[in-house]
């Protein structure tokens, strides 16, 4: 009797306590003393990681989980400076173009070794790229090699490959090779920072499947073990020659079933870094973690895209889309509905990317209901006076879609509803098959930090990322010209011009740039620094020495 009753009271009290703290938020971690104590150069960091979808082969990591690990094990030719997007050399001594940027010469820093002790040579790169580009080897990122001459021989649209070598790759000597492209690309060196361009050791080609389970790289960390769905261990590679030597002893990547589970382990210092604060804790995490809360912008943009193949948007006056854009109150929505996890977008290109121009879209991304209404009227109105925004319901898109719709409805009187698809697969299916009824949610994370990546790869008529049916000859011509420009500066400038063309056309309505809302444990010394791709720079993270 007594036991039963008191159990009831405990449950009741717990519910009240839960409600109270949910409003107030705990402040016990307010002052965390991040910089007190000493750093231990051999300390092990624990970081959250989902199970990589594919084997750990450099060209096979389309999703962020696999590529997060691969980037610690492999070092590529180049990397980027966080914040500015400037190119830096890692394994390459130089990457130089010829006069029209169609032939590139790569010189490697000598003396580099793979983790198994074999040297990193020009051959390691050429063999790796030839193997990864081959359609038969089923690497999800194989299309990254399509700029190289001879790509269609190893990766035909149909049937078996004619060759297992791309004619564009030539080894000059042990430490240098040349890349001949199908045409000039002034920013080709920038593309080389992506995971797919990593070198592979000889032993890889003997058994690629086994190598995918136990990768041998040339990076700052060497692979130790992969306990599937539980733990991946990498440890500092002592003979590493690169500029980004690890400042910690290694990383244990731990798998979590939910963001909530990871967050509660972070708070109890069982985990040092999480990838994203769970939605339920977004309002309180800064109070919970104090200085240890991370809130950093990265180069990704979210937009809503009109489906230009529909009757509604086929011959639309761009003024209508501009009007819709001005009807969205980005400031309020990012602050309230999205809890400050995004910042309002003012251009097609994300911040931190070469060629980003603050306020490139001018007034079009500013909230102005009167002008929005006027523009839509001038443009002849929205056909049917009703739009819908397609999104996938398996991620938390619904709140902001509703808010955007609400904003449009209130400002302009245009009816707007969310068009929910059950999951991401179904959403993509409708986009690929051109079945979107009105507009859809689009997102883009940078591949390489040059503004072309946010324009040509999305809005070019034949661009693979263009699923809206948008086409503008003038833009295509300008983009082609920009790619052939003699210098990178010229390319970037021309793409800035192209952005103004897009502004008149409105192939999409940019909404906001993404931010990282994450946290670090009390074991981390100093604040974790992030790269432009939204992942921490793990080699720079320092672990506190145990007292």
């Amino acid at each position: 009797m007594r036991g039963a009753k008191s159990a009831k009271w405990v449950a009741g009290a717990a519910i009240i306590a839960l409600a109270a703290t949910a409003c107030g938020g705990g402040d016990k971690d307010g002052d965390s003393g991040m910089n007190s104590g000493k750093a231990d150069p051999n300390g092990i960091l624990t970081a959250q990681l989902g199970e990589p979808q594919n084997p750990l082969q450099p060209a096979n990591a389309k999703e962020s989980q696999g590529s997060r690990v691969l980037r610690t094990i492999f070092s590529g030719l180049v990397d980027y400076e966080p914040g500015t997007g400037k190119l830096t050399y890692v394994n390459a001594e130089s990457v130089t173009p010829n006069e029209d940027s169609s032939v590139w010469t790569v010189k490697l820093k000598p003396g580099w070794k793979f983790h198994d002790g074999t040297p990193v040579t020009a051959k390691s790169y050429v063999d790796s790229w030839n193997w990864s580009a081959n359609v038969k080897n089923n690497q999800t990122n194989s299309s990254w090699f399509q700029d190289i001459k001879g790509y269609e021989d190893v990766h035909p649209e149909k049937g078996d490959p004619k060759s297992d070598k791309m004619s564009g790759l030539k080894i000059v000597d042990e430490n240098s090779f040349t890349i001949t492209l199908t045409g000039p690309v002034s920013y080709f060196a920038y593309k080389l920072g992506y995971d797919v361009w990593a070198p592979l050791p000889e032993v890889f080609f003997k058994d690629p499947a086994a190598a995918g389970q136990k990768p041998i790289g040339n990076g700052p960390y060497k692979f130790v073990s992969w306990d599937h769905k539980k733990l991946i261990k990498v440890r500092k590679f002592d003979d590493y020659q690169g500029p980004n030597k690890a400042k910690n002893g290694g990383i244990d990547f731990k798998n979590y079933t939910t963001a909530e589970a990871a967050y509660s382990d972070l708070r109890s210092n069982n985990l040092d870094w999480i990838e994203q604060v769970p939605t339920t804790s977004l309002t309180s995490y800064k109070q919970d973690l104090g200085d240890r809360a991370i809130d950093a912008e990265y180069s990704a943009v979210q937009s809503i895209v009109p489906a230009f193949y529909t009757k509604q948007f086929k011959d639309i006056d761009p003024k209508v889309i501009q009007g819709l854009s001005m009807a969205i109150d980005r400031d309020t929505i990012t602050k309230t509905v999205l809890h400050g996890t995004r910042t309002p977008a003012d251009s097609y290109v994300a911040r931190g990317v070469l060629g980003y121009k603050p306020g490139a879209l001018g007034d079009i991304t500013k909230f102005d209901p009167a002008k929005a209404k006027k523009l839509i009227e001038e443009g002849g109105g929205v056909p049917g006076n009703k739009i819908s925004i397609q999104f996938n319901a398996d991620q938390s898109h619904k709140p902001w879609v509703d808010a955007v719709c609400n904003s449009i409805r209130k400002a302009t009187g245009v009816e707007c509803t969310g068009d929910s698809k059950p999951d991401f697969q179904a959403d993509l299916n409708a986009r690929d098959n051109k079945q979107v009824k009105s507009m859809y949610r689009g997102g883009w994370v940078l591949d390489y930090p040059v503004n072309s990546n946010f324009m040509r790869d999305l809005y070019g008529t034949t661009a693979a990322g263009n699923t809206s049916g948008y086409s503008n000859k003038e833009f295509d011509e300008l983009a082609a010209k920009a790619d052939k420009a003699k210098t990178l500066d010229e390319t970037v400038k021309m793409y800035q011009e192209a952005e103004q063309l897009l502004k008149n056309d409105m192939p999409a309505i940019p909404l906001w740039f993404y931010k990282n809302n994450s946290g670090q444990s009390e074991n981390v010394f100093g604040k974790i620094v992030y790269g432009q791709d939204g992942d921490p720079i793990f080699t720079d993270v320092q672990v506190k020495a145990k007292k």
Binding site: L18, Q53, S142, H228, K230, T257, S264, S268, A426, V445
Partner: protein
């Protein structure tokens, strides 16, 4: 008895084929292509998509995919995940974890549930009985995930008695909290069921006879009453094993247990047909076998029950 078991085993075959077929069709009827989805928002390369679809046999007609799948299954081959691992490896890593969790939950359910039920049943109508009824009613009305979060919040985040998550899924001590949460709901049902049958059987003729014979109370309750009251409880416990494995999807998620619920959830998200069908196939087998065991247990509890 032997014939009964043989007949039951034969009955399993059509059930088995039917369930796998339904799951197989359901996975494939969903819109969207899991291979295409590997590319996400970015554009997919059609040649590579075609090559991957071929590798996983997704370019074959559906009936052939099913026939191939079943043919491989009978040779013990559950197929491959998109990541290139054998589904059987994935399952042999996660099933023991869930079985351990289920065992912990089952133990709690049996000891606490039957104990509480017997205690209340012997005091039917008294304050203790009412207390148990109210307590179990509260437990039944709280959803498992609320209970899970509440337990973690109070015991781990506020009091700091336990780690918030399971760090090592092979450690029984760490599995106690998730096991307890998983068992709570069924425990309440078992307690109520036991209480009712106890209260009813107390008034049965054989009880009066036993008492009249002057048997000690311990023997009356422990053998005569308990044994006769357990039949409905055992039935419930049997069906509950299936419920536990299903409920583990939620509990494992909350407490970070890398078990089969988690495996199934991730596979569903990625639309990984071979894993989904494989896991459900094993589920079906487990439930069929448990049902058989429950039916056979009846005879142990009550020798009057005969199998024909």
């Amino acid at each position: 008895m032997g014939r009964y078991v043989a007949r039951r085993l034969l009955q399993m075959i059509p059930v088995f084929i039917g369930t796998t077929l339904i799951i197989f069709l359901m996975v494939h009827i969903l819109p969207g292509d899991p291979i295409r989805a590997m590319w996400g928002d970015k554009a997919a390369d059609p040649a590579q998509v075609a090559s991957l679809r071929h590798e996983f046999g997704l370019d074959q007609p559906l009936w052939k995919q099913y026939v191939d799948y079943m043919a491989n299954l009978f040779q013990g081959d559950f197929g491959k995940t998109f990541g290139g691992r054998q589904v059987i490896d994935e399952m042999s890593e996660s099933f023991p974890v869930t079985l351990r969790l289920t065992a912990v939950a089952m133990l709690i359910e049996i000891i606490v549930g039957i104990g509480l039920g017997a205690w209340a049943g012997l005091r039917a109508g008294k304050a203790a009985d009412t207390g148990v009824l109210i307590f179990t009613l509260i437990v039944i009305s709280i959803p498992v995930f609320v209970l899970g979060f509440l337990a973690r919040f109070v015991l781990a985040d506020t009091l700091g008695w336990v780690a918030p998550n399971v760090q090592d899924s092979t450690d029984y001590a760490q599995l106690f909290l998730p096991g307890f949460v998983l068992a709570m709901l069924s425990m309440a049902y078992v307690a109520r069921l036991t209480r009712t049958t106890f209260a009813e059987n107390l008034r049965a003729d054989y009880m009066r006879t036993a008492m009249a014979k002057g048997l000690p109370r311990r023997r009356i309750v422990g053998v005569h009453l308990l044994r006769n009251s357990l039949i409905p409880v055992v039935t419930f416990l049997g069906t509950d094993v299936g419920g536990f494995i299903g409920g583990a999807v939620v509990t494992e998620g909350i407490f970070n247990v890398q078990g089969v619920g988690n495996l199934l959830f991730k596979a569903l998200q990625q639309r990984e047909g071979s894993t989904i069908v494989g896991v459900v196939t094993v589920f079906v087998l487990v439930i069929l076998v448990i049902n058989l065991i429950v039916d056979l247990l009846y005879a142990v509890l009550d020798p009057r029950i005969r199998y024909a």
